[in-house]
């Protein structure tokens, strides 16, 4: 047997850092204030470890899996509160999510692979800055709010305005409004060209409060309310869906133009996927 020094290790060294393992959100916020500008939070570490292996140097690493509050899932006044360190696998399998947001649970069982879903967190996913990740477009469609905290207290940032909010403090939870009438659809079939998430209230044959989130197609996922001239019923969502989707896609800023697809193709596919989803809403009633 060779000795330990001769056994090949990981190919790329991670620079040394000071480790901090807070036990509460308050302690994590105090650490972040103390080491402002010289620290990074770690949730699941899916992106962070790769960044560290690729040369990112960090002086202080604040490990958040030691904070139980960040792993909680709860419901209060029609709002699903998902702790920032809840994993994708938790979203896929949690009984509360299964009852109150079954469509989200179903979509979340399909992202990444099971090993990644077990490691990765919803908070890390939306703060990663990777335009291809699924968390942000889904949460924009669901009209979710990201709750950040620092030593001054909490601050809520709508998912659609998350760009530039990465330094707003410690992301503690994501709040998703829920209702039995709320539908959620996400089409990931054209990744990494585009992904489209749609959420709407469907009640008594009427479609209302529709919102769209678009991933992969911009530097950061974008979207918002789906403008519709007049009321939309499920009966005519199929007929009018294509026109509504085309209008929405036409009003978006210019999508990315890269090796995966041209900007024009992306815009067209956003309209195609959204039209299909509106038709699906109509068919499901």
């Amino acid at each position: 047997m060779t000795d330990a020094a001769q056994t090949p290790g990981t190919h790329r060294n991670i620079p040394a850092f000071d480790l901090h393992r807070p036990a509460s959100i308050a302690e994590a916020c105090r650490l972040a204030e103390k080491f402002a500008g010289r620290c990074v939070f770690m949730g699941g570490g899916v992106d962070l470890l790769q960044n560290l292996k690729s040369g990112l140097a960090v002086e202080n690493l604040i490990y958040l899996k030691s904070v139980p509050e960040l792993r909680a899932i709860g419901i209060e006044d029609g709002t699903l509160r998902i702790g920032a360190c809840v994993t994708h696998r938790d979203l896929e399998t949690d009984p509360l999510i299964a009852v109150h947001a079954p469509a989200l649970a179903k979509v979340w069982g399909e992202i990444g692979n099971v090993r990644i879903r077990i490691a990765g967190t919803l908070g890390g996913n939306i703060l990663s800055g990777d335009p291809g990740y699924d968390g942000l477009p889904a949460l924009i469609a669901l009209n979710a709010v990201a709750v950040f905290e620092d030593t001054n207290g909490p601050r809520a940032v709508p998912a659609a305005q998350l760009a530039g909010a990465e330094n707003a403090g410690l992301l503690t939870a994501i709040e998703v409004p829920i209702a039995p009438s709320r539908r959620f659809l996400m089409d990931r079939s054209l990744k990494p060209v585009v992904s489209v998430a749609l959420s709407a209230d469907v009640r008594g044959g009427a479609v209302a409060n529709a919102r769209v989130g678009v991933g992969c197609a911009f530097r950061i996922a974008t979207g918002g309310p789906l403008p519709m001239a007049g009321d939309l019923t499920t009966a005519d969502a199929a007929a009018r869906g294509a026109a509504i989707a085309q209008e929405f896609a036409g009003q978006l800023p210019d999508p990315l133009d890269d090796v995966f697809a041209s900007s024009g193709y992306r815009r067209r596919m956003i309209a195609v996927l959204l039209a299909r989803q509106l038709r699906a809403l109509a068919e499901a009633g």
């Binding site: 020094a5 990981t10 991670i14 480790l19 570490g45 899996k65 099971v114 090993r115």
Partner: protein, 156 residues
Amino acid sequence: MKTVSIRFNLNGRQVSHEVPANQTLIDLIRRQERLLGTKLSCDQAVCGACTVLVNGQPRAACATFAFEADAQDVVTIEGLADGDGLSAVQQAFLDNAAFQCGYCTPGMIMLAAALLQQDPDPGEAAIRRWMGANICRCTGYQMIVDAVRAAAGAKS
């Protein structure tokens, strides 16, 4: 602190280490614990060759810090057999010749063991979905699926 004292259960025994905070779990397992069954390949949590179980869940040991094992229960490929008696999954891989070069095998077996702990009788679709997390570059997937089905049958 740049080093951390950790204590955890590894293959059924308590172990203690003083580890650098930046050390990965696979380096602790292979270099300090001398357990060489866990393989390093892509080093970026993609291939799954380094899969170990942490509290029964499959994790890429190359993308997990050693300190994350603190107070947890870790099982590597060496922890599956009971003395000379192979586990049901190991025996099924042997019976079905579910390996070619064998490099992905420890990770595949750990991944399959986690599946059967959570779902003792998965159908073929569930097996394929779950096992899709790991890569066999020899592409011997059919035998791997057969082995997991056989192991499920042997357990149930």
